[in-house]
Every structure is written in C-alpha cells, then in structure tokens.
C-alpha cells in the first residue's frame, strides 16, 4: 500500500507540473488585467484560440516555438479587442468578456477544422528526473520550459507591481481611477494595455495545451481551464506568486482521478476527476465567506462596485 501511495503522489506531482502551466498563464494574465481594474472573463476564448493558432502555425512552419509566439499574438488581438470595446461608454466588461469567450472559441473551431487530423511538431520537455533512476519519477519530472517561464513571470510581476513605475500605475488605476486621472494617467489606455497583455499570456497558455499536454488540437481540448483560472485569481487574492501555488494545487487535484485508477482504485473515478471543480467551489465559498479578504480586491473592479 505504501508503494501505491508513492505512485499516487508521484503521479500527482507530475500532474501538478504538467497541468498547471495553462492555469498559470491564464491566471497571471487575468491578474494583470484585474489589477488594472477590469475583468476579462473571455480568457477561455483566448486559450482555445491560442491552442488552435499554435497548432496550426507549428504544423505549417514546422517550428513549435513560432506557434507559441503566434498563439500569444492571437491572444493579444482578442485582449486588445476586449480592451477597446470596454473603453466605449456604458459598456460592461463582464458581458463583453462572455461574448469574447464565445467569439474566441467559435473562431478557433471555425478555422481549426483542417488541423484536427494532421500532426504538428510539439514542444520538447526538459528531462529533470533521469538521475533518480525511478522511471515513474523521471516521467513526472519531464518539465516543459514554459512551466519555468510562467514561474519567472510570476516572480517578475510580483516584483514589478512594487518596484516599477508601470507596476504602481497599474495598481493605482485598478484601485482608484479618480486618483489616476488626477495624476494625468490615462485610465483607459492603462486598462487597454493591461487587457491586451493579459490576453497575450492566456494565448500562450493555450499553446501549451495543443503543443505539449494533451498535445493535439481538437474541439474538446479545453475543459474550461480558462474560466477556472479566472476563479483562481480570486482564490490567489490577486497575488502572482499565490497564482502559481493555486495553479499547482489545481494541477495536482486534476491528476487525482487518473492516478488512483492507475493503482487500481477505479471506484468513484468520475468523482475524483471532478476534484478540481469541487475544489473551485469549496475555495470560492470559503474565500467569499471571509469578509476580511475583501480588502485585497482592487477597488475599481465592477464586481466590487
């Protein structure tokens, strides 16, 4: 039984590393957007469109990294569109976000049809676990470079929100638009840029889905990771470092079902597969219940007003 437990833990570690990356990118993008005072619920659309574009470009060009970049570009465009529409008077960012989600996924399915069959070059992983001599552990420690990019990005964002002019301006815009305006900052421009940059990151998250894990393009590729990641941001209290931990937790929870099955526990398979979603619900209820945590919320978000 000890052995089985180790197997499950290793599988969950591998799952955490493998599955967390798209959550990470989308959550970081959303953190940036929400810190500027706007909510973009449409990142699921960016994610799916990013996955499709990455796969298509990788297939057509033969270079997976070019695909990643193209995915970011597609996300940037969707984010910019969201940012632009929300600049118009009397537009609600949440409604626009839901529309953008349908728009992004629809666009991806429309242009993605021809790329479901062919096989595109994929991203390579860095084998970090070969020295252990344990094949299961070695497999779990096959880490995609994007994972490290995500962590580096989170650390950078954490630093930049405190130590750069741009970081302070984003926080200022998100917390008090009136103060920002009084200082001559263009609130709309800051939010436009933050939404576009957030969209870029979500697009890269999509590239990971189609080019690494699961590693193909089809219409059922994303099972709501983009939406879940937006919820993660609330759970992480708008803190980039906490976003990483939240993403890892979700990844581990997602790997629970398959890993239990691999050691022969197949009872409640669907229940364990639903673990990340149940976790989301529980986390949301707990974090909404604590009123003190409301202090971290950027003051300009339309949910808090």
């Amino acid at each position: 039984m000890d052995n089985a437990l180790v197997t499950v833990l290793i599988a969950m570690l591998g799952g955490a590393i493998r599955v967390s990356t798209p959550f990470m990118f989308v959550a970081l993008g959303e953190t940036l957007t929400e810190k500027s005072g706007r909510i973009n619920l449409g990142l699921e659309g960016n994610l799916v469109l990013g996955a499709m574009v990455a796969y298509a470009v990788s297939y057509l060009s033969g270079n997976a990294w070019l695909g990643v970049l193209a995915a970011g570009g597609s996300g940037l465009c969707l984010g910019a569109l969201h940012g632009y529409i929300c600049k118009l008077p009397r537009v609600n960012d949440i409604a626009v976000g839901i529309a953008m989600m349908s728009f992004g996924t629809g666009l991806a399915f429309f242009f993605g049809k021809p790329f479901i069959q062919p096989s595109a070059p994929r991203l390579d992983a860095i084998p970090l676990g070969d020295w252990t001599g344990n094949p299961a552990l070695a497999q779990a420690l096959q880490v995609n470079p994007l994972f490290f990019v995500g962590i580096a990005l989170a650390v950078f964002m954490f630093w930049a929100f405190r130590n750069t002019r741009w970081g302070l301006i984003v926080r200022m815009t998100g917390d008090s638009a009136a103060s920002a305006k009084a200082m001559g900052v263009s609130v709309d421009l800051v939010r436009f840029l933050a939404t576009a940059a957030g969209g870029f990151l979500a697009g890269i998250g999509g590239a990971f889905l189609s080019l690494y894990y699961p590693g193909s393009w089809n219409q059922g590729l994303s099972s709501g990771q983009g939406l879940m990641a937006v919820a993660l941001v609330i759970f992480a209290r708008w803190d980039p470092i906490k976003c990483i931990f939240a993403a890892l937790l979700f990844g581990a929870a997602g790997a629970l079902g398959p890993s239990l099955q691999s050691i022969g526990i197949s009872q409640g398979y669907y229940f364990f597969n639903a673990a990340p979603y149940i976790l989301t619900l529980i986390i949301m209820i707990i974090s909404a219940g604590s009123k003190a945590s409301a202090r971290d919320v950027p003051g300009e978000l339309s949910i808090t007003k």
Binding site: R165, W166, L168, D175, S176, S179, K291
Partner: protein, 504 residues
C-alpha cells in the same frame, strides 16, 4: 525653503455654464505667505473659482498671475508645473499603495524602475524637514482620515507645490486634529514657506487661523478683508446677503418625558466583517433630542443603518416604549418611527421614480392610495403629493418629475415631508443639513425642533458639532464604534466633546 511662498492673483474671472453664470467677474488676491480663506455658501462659485485656477475649467474671461507674472493654466498638469496644488475633499491617494509609493508615483519624473533604498533615504530627508509625521510604509487604506489629510498635504510639499488650495480640509478631522493641522500650516505660511487658500464654512477656524478672506455669493465677489479685524456677523452678512431666514423654532421647556427609544448593547459589523459598532447603549426620552457627535467613520453610519434596518445587528436589541423593535416596515409603521438618513437621494428615495411615488413610500399600501390593501390608485397619491409639496415648499416641476431632478435641499425637504407629515414618536436623523444652504438649514432644523416640541424622541447623528450644540438636549459622543461620553448640553462644552471625539 523659507521665502519661497508665491503670491497669486486672479483677475476678472468669469465662467458661464449654459444659462448659469457660475462666476461673474471675480477677482481675488492672495499675498505671498498668507493664509487666505475663501468663504461662501454652496453654489456661491468657490469651487468654480479654484477649478479655474487649477485648470480643470478654462475661464471664459480673466487671468491668473503668479508672483505678478501672468501664467496660462490650461490643465491641472500646467498648475502642477507652476507649483499650484490642491487638496480635494475626496482624497486622491490610492488606497492600496503605501504612503511612500503614493508620493513617489505622484512625481512627474517617477523612475521606470524604482530604487527603494535611494527613494527611502530621500523621503526620510524630506520628512525630517516636515512639521508632521505620517506612517509611510503602511497602505493608505489603513490610515486614519487625519493621517490621510496630512499625507495629502505632504504630497503637495513633496512635489514642491508651494501654493496650496485646500477644499474644506477639516471636515473629516476632530476639532483637535483640525486645530493642530491648521496651526502647523499657519506657521509654515508665517515663515513664508507656503501660501494657502482655504475654502471653508467654519468661521471659528477662519477667525483663529486665517489672516485674509474673500467672500463670494451667487458667483460674485461680495467682500474681502482682514480676517482678524472683521467680525463674524459682518462676514456672514457678506455670505448670505439680504436673504430672509426663517425664524428658528424655539426650544419648548417641558417636563422630562418617559424613555421612548432604548438602544441596548448594539453590535454590528462593517462590510469587511470588522466590528463597526460595539456595545452601544443609549436612551432617548420623549420630547428630547439626543445628538450623537463624532468624527466621520466612527460607526455613526453603521448605527443609523442598523436602526433603519439596512444593516443586521450581530447582538443587542432596540426597544421602543419597552417593547422589542425589529426594524421592518410593519414595525416602523406601528411604532411611528421615522427617519431622515444621510445622503437622502441614495438612502431614502428611488432616484428615478417620481416625486409623488417617493412621497407615497410610507402610505402606498394604505387607504386612500390603496384599496383592499393592494389596488393602488394614482389619483389620491398625486393629490397627497401636491399637498405635501405645497406645505413643505418643495421646488419641483410637478409631482410626476423624477425625484433625482430636484436639488439636494429639495430632496431633503421631500423626504422630510414624507417622514414628518404624520404622527411621529421616534425620529432618527443623520447629517440632515449636509451640503445645504443657510435658508434650507434653518428650515430643516426648525422642523426637527418642532417634532421634539410635539413630544417625539429624536436621535440626531451629525458630524457638524455646531448643529448638535444648537439642537440637542443631550449629547453623546461616538468614537471607535462605541459611545464613550453622554452629557446634558448645558453641562458640557466644545472642548470636552472634542476630546471625547478624539477617543480620550
């Protein structure tokens, strides 16, 4: 730093908004190093004048001279570049940033990557020269109102803005804090380090700290002079002109009534789940006004919300004539409890519904408006509205106009008309005269006094200490969410109350 205070002169400023002449050929001269008061009623044009100086509005006519040189100020940025800064009534600090972050980012030349070690050293050197200290490393949201106000002023000095315009800077401070801050600013002005133009309503502060004053009325200049030499009655005559003010209702002497309203150990939480009011105990007798004094944000709003059923009590109970009172519509009716909450447009009306409908909120389900308890007929409702509009002199286009089209004073009168037209046993009033002109203030205070004289128990929550000293029979002071001092009005004075407001 001494001797750098600029002088400022605005000549012939005129600003027209559509049919309204907000500013009509107004001139003001502020000497270098003076502490100048700008007086006037609401709508007198004070804000318009300073906004023209600050570049928020461009004046239709007139010029601004700084140290005798004409300057063109087209935007707040130009004002900043010329060393003119303003502290607004609403704070412009960013709540989630720390004091230090707020100061550094407000600089036009804030570096792209901030070297905090260097900036902190620079800030420490700057603070060493300042007359007051504010915690620099905690988020602004956790500072008190007084500290925020000081930080706003520090920000102006940090940005080297030596001509500062303060818009009613003491409205959120305790009398003690206000005196301290004005004293320090007065000292800096005396040493010719800064020049201050302060918008104020409070004659006491103007007399104590300012050296010059200018008065506006209805967009015109009506007087200026030496603040020390001119008496308060003369100043107020310049402010209100020859407007006839309704005679105040006199306080009727009567024997003490029975306890009418009792608050027993009330506890409630704020929106963040922190205690907003703690163990509030208070009794109000019939025919008595109890005034609750306190600096804004010490739980008064939460208390009024709890009494009007807008905020749940976590513990304690409200009793009327000894019976437990649950703040629900039915009980308000049965116990004849009426209220005038602060910001009535937000808290006591539905802005887009008509004046008649808003006036009927207390009676729409009773005859004659409603038949059988559910069938509403608009005829009697409009009739009743017409009667109330005439009796309470509410200025409106008619009973069918949306109530949001009324001016602040008239919204307040309309709510009063609704709440006071029947029999009142308990009246709960919060900041009833906030932002109203002299005539409306006198009118509304008279109405409150009349209710007292007729035997109602009145709870008056006010941030204006003068209002409480004028109206109340007893005063209770709220600080930190609880009542820490209760006294009969003749047994206490402004200083004692002020000390308790500061929590001592």
């Amino acid at each position: 730093m001494a001797g750098r205070a600029p002088s400022l002169e605005a000549i012939g400023m005129t600003k027209v908004f559509g049919p309204l002449v907000a500013l009509d050929d107004v001139s003001i001269k502020v000497e270098a190093g003076s502490f100048h008061a700008l007086l006037g009623e609401n709508g007198a044009g004070k804000s318009t004048l300073v906004k023209c100086i600050m570049g928020f509005y461009s004046a239709d006519k007139g010029q601004v001279r700084l140290d005798g040189q004409e300057v063109a100020i087209r935007s707040p940025r130009d004002a900043r570049a010329n060393g003119i800064g303003m502290v607004y009534q609403q704070f412009t600090l960013v709540p989630c940033l720390t004091g230090a972050e707020n100061l550094v980012i407000s600089r036009a030349d804030a570096p792209a990557v901030i070297d905090w070690a260097k900036e902190k050293k620079h800030l420490d050197a700057f603070m060493a020269e300042m007359p007051f200290r504010v915690p620099m490393n905690t988020p602004v949201s956790s500072l008190s109102a007084g500290e925020k106000q000081k930080l706003e002023i520090l920000k102006l000095l940090y940005l080297d803005q030596r001509f500062m315009i303060l818009d009613e800077p003491t409205s959120v401070l305790t009398p003690g804090e206000a005196d301290e801050m004005l004293g320090l600013l007065g000292g800096m002005a005396d040493r010719k380090e800064i020049t201050v133009l302060m918008i104020s309503h409070k004659f006491r502060e103007v007399k104590a700290f300012c050296d010059h004053f200018t008065v506006l009325r209805r967009g015109r200049f009506t007087g200026a002079g030496d603040a020390k030499a001119v008496s308060v009655p003369e100043m107020s005559a310049m402010m209100i002109g020859d407007t006839a003010i309704r005679e105040r209702a006199a306080r009727k002497k009567h024997n003490e009534g029975a306890d009418r309203l009792e608050l027993a150990g009330l506890f409630a939480e704020d929106n963040d789940g922190l205690p907003a009011i703690r163990s509030v105990n208070l009794k109000v007798k019939a025919g008595e006004i109890v005034g609750i004094a306190g600096v804004s944000g010490n739980g008064q709003s939460a208390l009024v919300e709890a009494l009007s059923g807008q905020r749940p009590l976590s513990d304690g109970g409200i009793y009327i004539n000894g019976e437990f009172f649950r703040p629900k519509r039915g009980s308000f009716d049965r116990y004849k409890v009426f209220g005038l909450p602060e910001e009535p447009l937000k808290n006591a009306t539905v802005p887009r519904m008509s004046v008649a409908e808003n006036l009927a909120f207390r009676s729409f389900d009773k005859p004659p408006v409603a038949k059988l308890g559910w069938w509403m007929s608009p005829g009697p409702m409009r009739e009743k509205a017409r009667e109330l509009i005439a009796r309470y002199r509410v200025k409106t286009q008619g009973p069918d106009a949306p109530i949001e089209t009324l001016s602040g004073g008239n919204v307040q009168r309309a709510v009063l008309a609704r709440e006071l037209s029947g029999d009142v046993d308990v009246l709960i009033v919060a900041n009833p005269c906030f932002g109203l002109d002299f005539a409306s203030v006198a009118d509304i205070r008279s109405q409150i006094m009349e209710q007292r004289n007729r035997g109602a128990a009145v709870l008056l929550v006010s941030e204006d200490l003068d209002e409480i000293l004028e109206l109340a029979d007893r005063v209770a002071v709220m600080s930190g969410g609880t009542i820490n001092y209760v006294a009969r009005i003749e047994d206490t004075d402004r200083n004692t109350i002020g000390q308790h407001m500061a929590g001592h």
